[in-house]
Each structure stands twice: as C-alpha cells, then as structure tokens.
Subunit: 340 residues, 2 copies
DNA sequence: ATAATTTAGTTAAACGTTTAAACAAAGGAA
DNA sequence: TTCCTTTGTTTAAACGTTTAACTAAATTAT
C-alpha cells in the first residue's frame, strides 16, 4: 500500500499540515524537535509526496510542454537538451512531443498539455499561419516561441536568432573570399527563418555589388533530399554559379553529396556554405563552413525566459512580450576556399 | 476564470457524474437527449477536463518517464521518437530527461517521476552496477529497459539487441571481404553492450580462423574523441592491422577522421566498420559500412511493451520479465572494400 | 497580575475529478 | 394491483495534498 501524508502525520503524532510544512520547507514555526521526529518517520517509511495531489491545490504542475517538429532532425536535440538542463536546474520537468510540422498534431499536443495542466508551453512552430495564431489563442498558459516568429495573444516570450544578419554575413563572407555568383538553396518560404535569410541574401548581394540572378535561387525544404534535388535542378537549368549558400546544413550536406555524384569538387569547383552548425557538419567531407546558431542556448534561454515569466506572472505584472535575440557566428571549415 | 465540470453540470442541468460519464464515453446509460445537451454546453464553454484531478482518483497519469543518457548523442533521438510515436498513438505523454550516465541524475529523475506519479519508466541505463539495481528496487512503477541489460526487481520488460551476433556478423563480414587483421576499438566495458560485442568479436575471430592480437583491441568510450585517440594509440604502438571494427559509429567517425589526419586512406589502406547506423553515417566520407541497429524500433517497441504491461497489470497477472530481442543488419557502404 | 505578543502547532475547506451505490420513474410480468 | 426489471440519473465519498484561519500555551511587557 502506498504511504501518504496522513500515515506519516499519525505515526509522528502531528497534523498533516505540520508534515506538509516540513516537507516543503515552510517550517519557520516548527520546533527542531518535531521537525526531526517527522523527518525520521518520513525516512523510515520512505515517504515521497504525491505531486499530483499537490498540483491540484497549488494549480502548478512544474511541467513545461516542449513541442518540436521532429527530435530526429539534428537541429532539435540541442534545443531539447538546453531546455531540459535549465528545467531540471529549477525543479521542472518537460513533456515533449513531435509535431512533424502538422497543425493537427500541434493542436492535439497543446490540448493534451492543457488537460495535464502544464505550467507553460515552449514551441518551435512549423510555419506561420492563421491556424496557428488561432490555436494559440485557445491555450490558457504562457507560450514561448523558439526560432520561428509569430504574433498572437498568449505569446509571452520569444527566443529568436537574427536570420537576416546571419545570412547577410554568410554571403558577405563568400564575397570576401572571391565568390561572385552565389546560388541560394532556400528552406520553405512560409517560414520566417527562410524568408528572413532570403532577404539577408539579397541585401548582401546588393551591398557587395553582386548580381542577383533569380535562376540561381530555389526554394524547397530544410532536408538533405532537397539539397540533392536543388543541385540537380540548378545543374539541369545550366545556372551559372561558383558557390551555393544553403538554407541550412542539411541542405548543404545534400548539395555536397549530389555535387560529388556529378563529379564536381567542393570546394575546388564550387564552394558550399551552410547554416546552423549541427553536430555532423564537422564530420562530413569536406567539413562544412557554416553559420553557427547557438542551438543549445536557444533551448536554455527559452526555458529560462519561461520560468521567469511564470515567476513574475504571480505578481500579474507586465503583459509585454519578452524577446531575446541571439547572435550567429561564422565557423570556417573546408567547404569554402579563398579564390585568388 | 477556469471552467470546471461543475459549471458544465449546472448549466446543462445535470449532475457532474453525468458530465463525467459523457466526457469519458462511459455513457451507455445516458439518453441521447441529455448527451447532446451536455455536449453542446461543453462546446459552448470550450470545457477541457482537468487531467490532474482525474489522475488523483484514477491513480493513472498517462505519463511515461523516459530517461536517456543524452538526447544530443545521435543514437538517442531515434529512440525518443519511436517511444513518443507509440505513446501518442495511445494517448500517453512522455516526460523525458537526460542522465549523462550519472547515477545521481538517474536517481533524481526517478524520484521526480515517482512524485509526479508517472505510470511507468523507460530507461536506457548508463552502466550496470549495484547502485542501479538498488535504485530500481525503490521505484514503485513498472520499468522497461532499453539496450543495456540488468536484472533487478521491478524491471518488467526489456528491449535488447543481440550485440554478440551483431558484432560476430560484422567481423565475419570483414573476414569474408578479405581482411585478416581486424583491430577493435571498443566502448566502455562496464556496459553490457560493449562486453557482448567484444565476445562476438573474439568468437568470430576464432570461427574465421583469424588470430586474436590483444595489442589491437582497445577500450574507451562511445565517442568521436575516443575514435581519434584510439587510432593514435594503435598507430603509436605500431599495431599490425588492416581494418578497424568500431564499437559504434561515433567511434568509427572519429577513427576515420584521425586516419585521414595521418594520411591513411579509407578504405584503400584500412577498412572501417561501425555499429548503430546513426543518421550521419550515410553522409560522412567515405560513407560508413556498419551494423544497423533498429533504433526507432527500440523506442517504439519499448513503449509498446510498457503499455501492454500497464494494461495487463490491472489483472495483476504474470510477474515475468518480457524480453524483446531485435535483430541487427549489416549495411554496406564505402568504408570497406573487398580485398582481392 | 494582566494584557499583549510570540511560538508552535491544528482544523477544515478546497482543488476538480471519478465511481460505487442509491434512487426514482417507467414498463412488463404475475 | 403488486412486484420486479430496466433505464436514466443523482448522491456523496474518495483521491492526497496545501493553506488560510484559528487556537492554546508560553513568553514578554506594563
């Protein structure tokens, strides 16, 4: 039989209130003697308080929902780890789920989290649209967004990366290294990340006095397969380019693989630049020059933000949206070679 | 203000019991008329039942704890995904946490899960030892183990892979391809996976009439860095080998990288074989020939097992340990080349 | 000596469900 | 008509905590 606070109280000859206060360190007014006595009984019976009963009265579960598109995509484990580390530091747990970028799944997960009374939800949105903003309106708890932007009620915090700048820097870097004809394999343009990166790409072309050739920019998905297809379509259309800037590292890996299939050498014939700096980017051949995103930090900061919001929302203060913008950084490896 | 079952009941002019039965589809005896009336009110107020209140009475949370060493290690996301997919199918949620292979963390997470009344715990143990078995004794809910074996009370299920056979097959495959001097870079031998793989390696050497040279087998960690160090130490000791079988893909990737640093070609000079078939193994150069573990399946099956145990434990039946052994499979890529 | 304050607790309601047991009304059998 | 079933619904206890409000005893102040 499971042992409850009542048994402990009876055995120690005190009320349940006393036990509760001792367990929760709200025992300013409890004498050392009874404190010790109760603690001994607790140890003796190996009593572990039932958090769900507690949650029912405090209306707090110390659970944060984390919704990601797909933990299997190398970009996300770092975020999950960052979030979990911070959560754990503060005595919170994470319920995590994969949305596959589908609205129905996002909706289902949000509903589940609401039922289970999660204290807050951190979500990496799949894309921005009406549906989503509609959906988030329904959900009663604070929401923090990571990576993909969106404005809606209930969103209390955001952790973003300056995608325009990251992309702008990358293209400038390519230009500085002597590349003149920079193709661009974009991610899906219905995501803000991709559209911002495209803007950065275009602006950098202008500022570096390079020409913008629409034939060399293609939009697809954030996947290896798209990198391969993108190269094929660039080649098929006989587009003129000396380098490819890729919407993310996965695309870059796919592009390099396909270039190799076509016996085109990287970086000798074509330079390749990625975005993200996922784990494998150091280990592909050639190793990938890329725009590093602070992936771990994104998760960590998002959780930190969430916990701060939760703390201050007791005082029912500011309803403003707290936004954290993190910086990118170019990491130089071997898929780019300075041209004379 | 949050809307509860009481408000719904009052508004619909019925008792809470009636609402509860309708919400949970236990409404065999409810007339269509009231059923519809209640459902309408529920929709009108957008009522979502509070699962933690429910959990308190049913003693079921529909939450399963998932403890992994590190979600950031490319081996684990697949497991997490498999487990989450199955859980979601059946209306369960996952609380996940990283142990970093440390007992104290495993212990803390188990305690948290106990407090939060998780219905069961799925865990990928870091290593086998007394501590662990001691720890699992304490925990009140069913435990399912993935990948790393251990015997203890409370363990109600296991999903394992035949490491001996996988390793045996790999070495045999190398032998069939003409390799005679197969070095082995092992993972940590305090894990059952590594010790089983070592046994398989040795047995395969015997059965293929190859010599076992202790100088060519080294034990380290399941990490890229160890692959690099391992190669260095092999080289430093002037060990005689024509191929390296690696304890996992990470080690193999590190080994290839270091071989390249030493201007030794793979597969021309040295053949490399890995274990796991993680995501990146197809994309390193050369792509890695490896022993594929059914990673996704391991997570999926473990959750399936867990849910079955939970179902049948109502009937308080069999206390036997259900064990599922999954099979490995060699996937041929380019880090091995048939020698004439 | 009496009143005021502090200390060390206790009491009991509340959190939002589920569910076994009870019950009233209606229909059918005798 | 009386009794038995069936149908549809209600009653009320239970789940295991937390916490505001209260109290009794001890101490301090006047």
């Amino acid at each position: 039989m499971k042992i409850t606070i009542k048994e402990i109280a009876k055995e120690a000859g005190v009320s349940t209130a006393t036990v509760s206060m001792i367990v929760n360190n709200k025992d300013k007014r409890i004498s050392e003697a009874t404190r010790k006595r109760v603690l001994d009984v607790i140890k003796k019976y190996n009593y572990v308080p039932n958090a769900v009963a507690g949650s029912l009265v405090t209306q707090k579960t110390h659970i944060i929902g984390l919704i990601l598109p797909d933990i299997t995509n190398p970009f996300f484990p770092g975020i999950a780890r960052g979030a979990e580390d911070k959560a754990h530091e503060s005595g919170y747990s994470i319920i995590f789920s994969n949305s596959d970028g589908k609205h129905e799944l996002e909706e289902k997960h949000i509903e589940t989290l609401t039922k289970k009374m999660a204290d807050g939800i951190i979500i990496v949105l799949s894309s921005e649209n009406e549906h989503m903003s509609e959906l988030l309106k329904k959900c009663k708890v604070p929401v923090v967004l990571i990576d993909r932007d969106l404005s809606s009620v209930n969103i209390r915090g955001k952790v973003l990366v300056d995608n325009f700048k990251g992309s702008y820097d990358a293209v400038t870097y390519l230009s500085k290294n002597g590349y003149k004809k920079i193709a661009y394999l974009s991610g899906p343009l219905n995501t803000k990340t991709a559209s911002e990166r495209l803007k950065g790409y275009k602006q950098a072309l202008i500022d570096n006095k390079l020409i913008y050739d629409p034939k060399t920019v293609k939009c697809g998905e954030y996947k290896i397969e798209w990198g391969q297809m993108g190269v094929d379509s660039l080649l098929a259309e006989k587009a003129d380019f000396d380098s490819i800037f890729c919407g993310n590292d996965l695309i870059a890996v796919g592009a390099m693989k396909q270039l190799k299939n076509h016996k085109i050498r990287v970086p000798e014939d074509i330079g390749i630049m990625g975005y993200d700096d996922i784990y494998m980017s150091s280990y592909v051949e050639p190793s990938l020059t890329t725009v590093k995103q602070p992936i771990y930090q994104m998760g960590y900061k998002a959780m930190e933000l969430m916990l701060n919001i939760l703390k201050s929302s007791n005082k029912e203060t500011s309803q403003e949206i707290k936004t954290i913008i993190l910086d990118t950084e170019i990491v130089e490896r071997n898929s780019i070679k300075r041209k004379v």
